[in-house]
Amino acid sequence: MSWSSLIPATSFMPIQATEIAKEVDLLYAFLIISSLVSFVILIGGMTWFLIKFKRTSLDQKSAYITHNNFAEFLWSFIPLVIMMGIFYWGMVIFEKLRTPPEDIAAEIHVTAEQWAWTYRYANGKEFYSSANDPMIVPAGKATKLILTSKDVIHSFYVPAFRTKQDAVPGKLTQLWFEPKQAGEYIVFCTEYCGTKHSGMMIKIKAIPSEEYAAWYHAEKKGADSPADLGKTLFAQKACASCHSIDGARIVGPTMKGLFGSSRKFADGSQAKADENYLRESILVSSAKIVEGYPPAMPVFQGQLSDEDVANLIEYIKSIK
């Protein structure tokens, strides 16, 4: 936006590598301007009174003014309206930051640990990160990260994308971004995680999407994709004895079309089946019982590794 570039303070912001970054910076510019105006009103007003009403002689008398209802109403009401506006503006951006689009070109499972990141692609490509082994993503298309951590809480922060999400052990969180152009972008860890917290830096390298497709399919690491591994596990753990994959109703709900569907639970609540829901249902199925089904599934907590769970989720996602 052109007028926001008039504000020198926005020039301190990192490059705007996504559309959302532009929107964030516009709000930032607005906040800078409104803060400057407020500051001038408050501190300027104060300074003016200090000069004008400086005591000059010992017998000077102050005016006796106790309050003024109209002025007090105005300076309570006006800030309230402005702050509600800022709240709303921030909320609109926040929802965009938090809601990935339907068409995701790359989906990467990211696992944080002291002090590195591992990223695993849907076809099984896997990297143990370091600064010279960047996370490759397609430029101009949306990438979704599914984050977790092996040990303590870390946080995945890409200044150029103005986005950030904690990676919490025992939980899946998500983050998405769509870099406008090819380029390299720095990723910091922003949740304090011990000795090498500040050294836990990687890069995201966005490459043109044709190049990305070629890279993605070339020299596939490992024989099986996570979804394939999940399929094997699904058979090993005898999941199919209760969950059909073709839509048939047996003991438990079918896996067909489950991911992304809206679930209704026995207690009347509702939720969308996302990664975190699947994870929870696999590990402790009793947490949310789908309406109309018995609470029959055993607890898998402690029997499946994080990787197993991620693989199962990928398999379930593939059953459309």
Binding site: Y64, K96, T163, G170, S198
Partner: protein, 537 residues
Amino acid sequence: MSSAHTKTEHGHADHNYLNHGSGIWSWMTTLDHKRIGLMYFATVATLFLIGGFFALGIRLHLAKFGAEPLLDPDTYNKFMTFHGAIMVFMVIIPGIPAFLGNFVLPIQLGAKDVAFPRLNLASYYIFIAGALIAASSMIFNQVDTGWTFYTPYSTAKTSNGVILLVLGAFTMGFSSILTGLNFIVTTHKLRAPGMTMDRIPLMIWALYSTSIIQILATPILAITLLLIGAEKTLGVGIFDPDLGGDPVLFQHFFWFYSHPAVYIMILPAMGVISELITAFSKKTIFGYRAIAYSSVAIAAVSFLVWGHHMFVSGQSTLAGIVFSIITMFVGVPTAIKLFNWISTMYRGTVTFEAPMLFALGFMFLFTIGGLTGVFLASTGMDVHFHDTYFVVAHFHYVMVGGTLMALMGGIYYWFPKMFGRMTSDLGGRISWVLIFTGFNVTFFPQFVLGAMGMPRRYFDYLPEYTNLNQISTVGSWLIGLGFLVGLITIIHGIFKGEKASDNPWGAKTLEWQTSSPPPHENFTTTPTVTAGPYDFR
């Protein structure tokens, strides 16, 4: 209230609370709130010097002046932890309520002492015990978790020193609760005849609101800290995901206390500022009720905003939005106070002695701190700024710039009453210039660093952040020098200061109607109050 409205006589000038008993034992066993206040002063000032030492160490390291880093990563993390824990739990939280509050509150109410003098002394020793337990973690098993003790880092990945530090904070929490209780009962029960609730000074309203938060919120911290200890020693598995716990639950518990704690720090500062602005404008405070009730409003809303520390923690988007809107509401009573203070100066007769300079410095720094708080309350904006130097700059402007400016202003203001002597006004002004300039040089560049993306708690950083970090470090030396000058001014004042009159500033509240220093039980005759607290006619 003007002296015409109060019937007080001065005690014998040669007999006061300072020489009421002599020897160190008479101090250690004193039940006099004024002496206990001064004992807190000495303790908090010592702890402030230790916390300041760690601060200067952190800044010196981050300046990267030498080829070799000054600290290794683990030492740096420990410096960062002790700096935060000492400054928050042992300096800023107890600073104004326990020190200035203890000294001033009963006199301003026209009371002989607090409601429970023995409990007051016990609170002091509990505080000392807590500080010693916490300090012992500096010797055994140093802690590197940061003052927030986030799990599972604190429970699963670091030394057992955490247990000592949280046990210390737990113990100091009792001191905080008991002091709060004492203040609430004193305010309700021991007001002088004629002092209705709408005639109590605004300092009291602020301390009263603070006390409510202390009583309601501190137990939550206590339980949370105990759970960390239990998790570490017994492996109960409430926060540790390996044991089926939820690490984010800890953050909910922690901020449910620690966010209101921010107001435990800032509300008393606002009380001090209300006193200073009216006294040095020689004018009735503008909108007494609005300031008083806005303190209570801030205290109430402070309990509902903790989730704004967790916008990126994985809590639901809806929760983030709800916490964001409630957080915005805090801005309103805060703005009301600023407008009221400024209006108090309108058509007043303003003078600029050292305490007033600190009050004006508070207004300046707090305005910047408050406005940048709006940036962080806005969800879409906070995602970028969360856990960066922008946050570090913001809370230093509010907590340190705000609270410490008020604390320094309060010390210079009530010093004549405490010691019966004046501090050198020049010394006070020099310390003000250094501290005020230093704060801005230190922390303003950190807003820019945060916008550029530099995360907090970083031992090392990208080369493009170097210049601003170096400027920030130079600023920290100015602050250090400013406090050193302040300390010298205070020590000089205690021993060599000019004799103070009973009411050197011409203020109206009750503490200025008794002698300087006051007699053992504050007033020789119980004062009677017939008008509001700031009746400058």
